[in-house]
Amino acid sequence: MPRIGLVQFPGSNCDADVALALKRGFDIDPTLVWHTETKLPAVDAIVLPGGFSFGDYLRSGALASHSPVMAAVKEFAKKGGPVIGICNGFQVLTESHMLPGALLRNASQKFVCKQVELVTAPGSTVYHKSLFGKTSRVPVAHGEGRYYIDPEGLKRLKDEQQIVFRYAENPNGALDDIAGIVSENGRVLGMMPHPERATNPLLGSDDGLAIWQAFLATFM
């Protein structure tokens, strides 16, 4: 039985949805980890869910990235532990410098909620390999999802094949249509779209299940 730690910051609001997706899709009950914890429980992987940690004040993810729990998550990732950050979780990952780049206010300056199509880029990680060749329909819902990185950084992302998802149609002005990237070692994934919301055709799509499947495959 895989043990997944689900981190909760004050203002996280997709935590329950992630727990439900893991339960319904894979019969996994994640362990909740409160942001003030300095140590992680015994887990195989970590999820940083979406939401508005600390109200998105300052910059989205900025205040959360300094939470005690994030020091532990960094430690965990340094040892090769798998981490997925979704939406606000992705913002926390960039703010913590666990992933390169930054997520800026959408070019439209407006929050955007809609289904998008994600194209998986080529690469060698589990994510790339298990999802390559598919387009996934997954919703986005964010006000600050415009991925930015300087030109050298972008070159590095491309050279190292760290880009995992691109938008088929860019909803926020992200550089190079980037929707999700992975760390150099392939263990830390950050993505703006919400795979936990795409787990049943009744809810618009179940393409998110394959993304969770890939996440589980990083350690199972």
Partner: protein, 79 residues
């Protein structure tokens, strides 16, 4: 002891807000408006009285929290 910390996007990063303001005002006939830059300004009030310490602390807060080095620059000024 108060310090002003101004945080703004790096020049090479698109600032949709500045651009939108300029376009809107341009359409409304403010032709003299050549450019608009938008930044965030924080005024932090720090306990203690040694100016140098205060400035160092304000800079640390700016650097570690208020500005994101990937996309932003900042400036600190004693008020």
């Amino acid at each position: 002891m108060k310090f002003e910390i101004v945080v703004q996007l790096k020049k090479e990063v698109l600032d949709p807000e500045g651009r939108a303001i300029q376009e809107t005002l341009g359409r409304l006939g403010f032709r003299a408006l050549l450019a608009v830059e938008v930044s965030k300004r924080y005024v932090v009030d720090l306990a203690g009285s040694a100016e140098a310490d205060g400035e160092a602390l304000a800079t640390r807060i700016a650097k570690e929290f208020l500005a994101n080095p990937v996309s932003e620059i900042f400036a600190v000024r004693r008020l």
